[in-house]
Each structure stands twice: as structure tokens, then as C-alpha cells.
Subunit: 381 residues, 2 copies
């Protein structure tokens, strides 16, 4: 299996390589993209010998070119597309582990090339779901989700007739601030926010977990992945992150996916789909766990959850506006420019300022994405 | 779908008819057996108009014959076989909801007739698993389990490759005496034992739940149904009976089946397999549940659990000896002849007195079954 990995130096990229290491005979890393982490990219090149490497900046590829004269290099968005379309057709899989809307165009080009995609970049479906689902049909390509929740749902749906789904139930750990009141959230720091109770993740998704925007994005993603109405996608707060999600069928049967929080399990599932390869992780010990807790995930505490669902329901460019405002606001928060609660204020503001347009195209999505980010950065930097 | 229902007047039979009522256009009740409940059988005849009816005693069928001259009647073991082999071949399903070893022969005849079987009679597989699995292959017949645990496991295995199973994990509520010490068990009454915390079941299986023999029998049943080694069939105590069982795969993924305790769900699944028909039961409300508990199921408290697993592992006639001694002992307990803890003493005694024989045939199984019961009743009545 030839792998084309976007975001290889990030958190999901790193764990993807862990999975590749366990079956080096099965997987060949052909092309990869990183952003700014030159040292990590050198290590990856030394270990996996990819044929094509993309970095964020021209300077970095010049340095790499000197060290590795037999490897092709590129930078910028065009080189991300080169990563996913590199070489001829074989048994191929694109792993899209980019963070943010930048993942959309490479996903589209991978589909057009006819390559299946292990998708960790949820923004692809959040902002481009309508376009993507058409393209998947047209090119007979599959998206296999890497998010633990969506991988769980996909596994629960194994062998099932989708028309018998009653509800999809997505679990949420509650994020770093699950035990704080709205009042206490006024003064939380970046450091507090990055301290996720269960999962080790990148900065962006850890903040999204704290605001619960992450769960909102996941609901939109689930809507497009599994073709289920928003009214039949529920959430439940589950502190232990052991139950990764559930599907209720129309006979009241509920099938759930459980396991220790370890992203290598859904990554391995996506890389080996439709097989299930062995993975020597830690077995779940329910007796040791003792209890699993389930609570409501109230909109009153997490207004971004409702804002995301509403944006998803309203379709068109609203999900793009929501996502772009969130990307910019989280970035501003991480850089100390705004407070935690300003994230939701900014997103609400952007959804007011930028009007919805139901008649979407890829160009309109990319244009809206840029404009919302520009607006937000100019006003709040 | 033509239904041939053994044990129609019992607890599972009653709930099977509840499921039939929800899709009267889909199911036709062709032949049924009851035992002593004449009144209930009359109601069933009036509502479902079966063509053939079996009862335990000749007197009862004489009474029924007068009332229903157009229906065929029979009694005794031969008429149970008539129930499952009645009529020509169509879209047929046998529902075996008999209690005890009496279910084995009718199951075998149903398989020979080429009819699939919804199996609630776990004794069929406990004492005859080796023979049954050969016959299923030979006649290309399927057994679909009705037990909530085994139905759960079957649903968890939907679309999965059996070679990727690492462990099957069967949940146990702990039965009526889960919070009693061994010392307290010395003086428990039949009335105490019949008070199961979660499930409404027949007397035999409720006592088996209290002794944990039921879980032992289920482990043997699971071994034959899913072809998994005893060392990879685990148990966990789960008070709420919401998680009905789980399967761990070799990538550490665990798939579980959850739902409110309602036998009509697994019955509906078995009747409609491989489809999943709508059933208007109560949806599981995890938030309302709040917590799910998992504890160890210690052999020290439940010696019959280990005795059953050991009997299963040793194969041959030992499972038959175990099961026959249990059937007789539970009967004696229900009739006030022995104490609760004598059940396990009697089973241990029988496994000592009756030697194992690995070279089994149907005749040897039925002969051993009779001899162990005779021995037990004569000694303890």
C-alpha cells in the first residue's frame, strides 16, 4: 500500500508513522508534507525515504534539497496537491492529517486522482461536504475517517443496513474545562486550555475540545460521512473517553465502540480498512475502569456546539464562515490576543457579518474562508 | 416466514409471540408446543391458528381436540419433533424455547430438515455442541442465538472477520444474590432466588443466574456458536444489564451491544435475521442511566462458574453430566427438597460419580442425561 501523508510532522502524522512501523512490509511512504518542523522532517526522510516531500516554506526545502539530492521537494498549497497526486496508480491511500480548511483542496484532488482517503482533516467535510460527497460518487472513492468518534461509528455500522439507523450518538469527554462554570471560563489561560484530560492532541483540536466546537464540527462531519439527519445525531458527555461513539438502530439495539484512548487504533483501522490488522496496544480493562459515566452536554454551557449544528443545518457557506472564524479565533487565543470566551463571540459576529449563500462552489468556499479569516485577524490582532 | 415454536407458553415463547404480533403479515405460526398450561395454549390457538399443537400430557390434547377438530395434536418428545419438522419446506424458522436437555433432539431434527433455528435452548449447545456443529455444516443450516448475550455478540461480529477476535466478553448481572456473602447464601429461600434484579425470566434460568451456572452454560454455548477458545471467553459483572456483551478484536477495538433489558429485542433480531426489523421498544437513555458499573465475577463466590467452564473444556459427556445434575438440583431446590448451596454440591458430586467419555454420540448424551437425573432425584427427593 502506497501512502501519501499530509501533515506528517503533526500529532496524527506521527501516530500514523507509528502504525506504519508495525507493518513496514505492508506500507510504503511515498510522499509527505510537513509545515515548519524541519528537524522532524529530516528524521522522517531518514527513516521512511519518501520520494516527494512538501514543506511550508521555500527556505526549508532549499536546505533539504542540499541534504537529499535524490528526493523531489515542493512548498505551498500546490505541493500539497502534488503529495496526494504523486506518481502513478497502484494500491494507494492518502492520509489527510492537515489541520484546518487548507485540507479541502488536496482532498478534492486526491478524489479526482481516484485515491481513497484516510481523513483526519474534519474541515474537509465541514466546509466541503456537499461537494465532496458528489465527487466521491463520481470517482468511486472512499473516505475512511480517522477521528476516533467517526472510526467508532464506522465500525459500529459494519455489516449493517444504514436505513436501520435511528440515532448516531457521539461521545464527548467534555474537554479541559468540563468542570468549570461559565463564569470561571472568563479567566482561563492558554496553558489551562491545552491540558486535555484524556487525549494527547494538537493545540487546535485541544482548544476546539474545550470550546466544544470540536464536537460541533464532528456532528457536521458525521452528517456527511454517514448521511444521517442532524436531528438524529446526538451527543453525550462521557468523561472517560472509553466509549468512542454509539449507533442506535431502529430495534433499540445500540452498538458501541470502546477502547483506551489511543489514536493509533482508528489510524490503524483506516490504513488497513476493510481488514482489521493486529495492533499491540493496551487491552481495555473494564473491571479496572469500574465505572463509565454519561452526562448531558448542555448547549447553555457550550453555545458553540449549538452554533455549529445550526451552521451545519443551514448548509451553504455558513459552515465555512463558522470554521474560518473558529480557526482564526483559536489562533488568536493561542497567541494571547483574545480571551477564551472571545472565541465564541468572534464566531457569532462572523456568522452575523457574512451572509449565507446556498449555491456553493469550491471557489466560493475558499474565498469565504479567506475573507472571514482576514476580517477576524485585522479586527482582533 | 413460517414459525415452528417449541415452548410457546413459556417466558421466551410469550415474548416471541409479542414480536410476531408486531409483524403479523411477515410471520405465520404453523406449529407450537406447550407443556402443562392449557389455558394459555387455548388463547394462542385462538389468536394464531397453528396447524399443529403439542402438549406435555395426553389428557390435555384430548381436551383440545374436542374444541379444535381441524387442528392436529400430539404429546411427548415425538410430538416436539413433529412440531419442528411439520409440513413442507418454505421460508421456515424453528424457535426452540424449551428449557433443558429435552431441547436437543428437536434441534437435531430441525437441522436435518434443513430449517434454521432461533435458539433460546442453550442446553442444546451445552450438551450437544460437538454433534450440532457437525450437523449445521452438513445441512447448511444456521443457528441464530436468542440469549441476549449471544445475540449481542452476534451483532458485534456483524461484518467482522472471526479470525480477528481476541476475546469475547460476556456480561453478568450477578443474579439475585450478587450482594450476598457465601455465608448468607446458606439460608436463602426459593422466593429470594426468583427475584432477579433486571430480567423477567423463567424460574430455571433465574436460579441459574443466582448460582452463576447460567453464565457457565453461556460460555459453553458461546464456545460452540462463535468457535472461540475457552481461554478467550471472559466474563465481567455488570449490574445494570445494559451492556449485553462485548467483543474485543486484535487491534484492541471493543464492540459492544447495549440496550434496555428486553428479551424481545434479541428475539426480534433472531426472527428477522439477517435484517433488523423496527421494534418500538424504549430507547436506551445513557444520560438517565448516568453510570455503568463493571466488576470482577470471582470464582470464589461462584464455584459453579468455574465448574461449568472446566466441564466445557473437558468436552465429551462432562457438560451433559454438569447440565443434568444442574437441571435436577434446581428442580429439587424449587420444590423445597434441598438448600441453595446444595445445588453446587450435587453437581460436584455427579461430576465425580459419572466419569467422562470423550467419544460421544447422541444416544450416549441422552442416556447420561437420564442416568444423572435419576441418580440425583433418587438420592435427594
Amino acid at each position: 500500500m502506497n501512502l501519501f501523508i499530509l501533515g506528517v510532522t503533526g500529532n496524527i502524522g506521527k501516530q500514523t508513522l507509528d502504525v506504519v512501523r508495525t507493518s513496514k512490509n505492508k506500507f510504503k511512504v511515498v510522499a509527505v508534507s510537513g509545515n515548519t518542523n524541519l528537524k522532524k522532517m529530516k528524521d522522517i526522510i531518514n527513516e521512511f525515504s519518501p520520494k516527494y516531500v512538501s514543506m511550508g516554506k521555500r527556505d526549508d526545502i532549499l536546505k533539504l534539497q542540499e541534504l537529499y539530492p535524490n528526493i523531489e521537494f515542493g512548498y505551498g498549497i500546490e505541493s500539497l496537491i502534488k503529495v496526494v497526486t504523486y506518481g502513478g496508480l497502484g494500491e494507494d491511500l492518502v492520509v489527510n492529517a492537515l489541520v484546518g480548511s487548507v485540507g479541502l483542496k488536496p482532498t478534492i484532488e486526491a478524489i479526482k486522482k481516484g485515491r481513497n482517503i484516510a481523513l483526519a482533516n474534519k474541515e474537509t467535510l465541514v466546509i466541503g461536504g456537499e461537494i465532496i460527497n458528489e465527487l466521491l460518487k463520481e470517482h468511486n472513492v472512499k473516505i475512511i475517517p480517522v477521528d476516533s468518534e467517526h472510526s467508532a461509528i464506522m465500525q459500529c455500522l459494519n455489516g449493517e443496513d444504514f436505513s436501520t439507523i435511528k440515532n448516531i450518538i457521539i461521545t464527548a469527554s467534555g474537554g479541559s474545562f468540563r468542570d468549570k462554570t461559565r463564569k470561571e471560563l472568563r479567566n482561563v489561560t492558554v496553558h489551562d486550555a491545552l491540558n486535555h484530560p484524556n487525549w494527547s492532541m494538537g493545540a487546535k483540536v485541544t482548544i476546539d475540545s474545550a470550546t466544544m466546537m470540536n464536537k460541533g464540527l464532528e456532528i457536521i462531519e458525521a452528517h456527511y460521512l454517514f448521511n444521517v439527519d442532524y436531528d438524529h445525531i446526538k451527543t453525550v458527555m462521557h468523561r472517560e473517553s472509553i466509549v468512542h461513539s454509539l449507533v442506535e438502530f431502529h430495534d433499540t439495539s445500540v452498538i458501541a465502540h470502546l477502547g483506551n484512548p489511543d489514536m493509533r487504533v482508528p489510524i490503524s483501522y483506516a490504513l488497513n480498512y476493510p481488514s482489521r490488522a493486529q495492533y499491540n496496544g493496551k487491552s481495555l480493562d473494564l473491571v479496572k475502569m469500574g465505572k463509565l459515566h454519561f452526562e448531558e452536554l448542555p448547549y447553555s454551557k457550550y453555545p458553540l456546539l449549538k452554533m455549529a449544528i445550526d451552521a451545519g443545518k443551514s448548509k451553504g457557506l455558513n459552515p465555512t464562515t463558522l470554521n474560518a472564524a473558529n480557526e482564526a479565533a483559536v489562533n488568536l487565543f493561542l497567541n494571547g490576543k483574545i480571551t477564551f470566551l472571545q472565541i465564541e463571540e468572534i464566531i457569532r459576529e462572523c456568522l452575523d457579518v457574512f451572509k449565507n449563500d446556498l449555491n456553493i462552489t469550491l471557489d466560493k468556499i475558499l474565498d469565504r474562508d479567506l475573507k472571514v479569516k482576514d476580517y477576524t485577524y485585522k479586527k482582533y490582532s
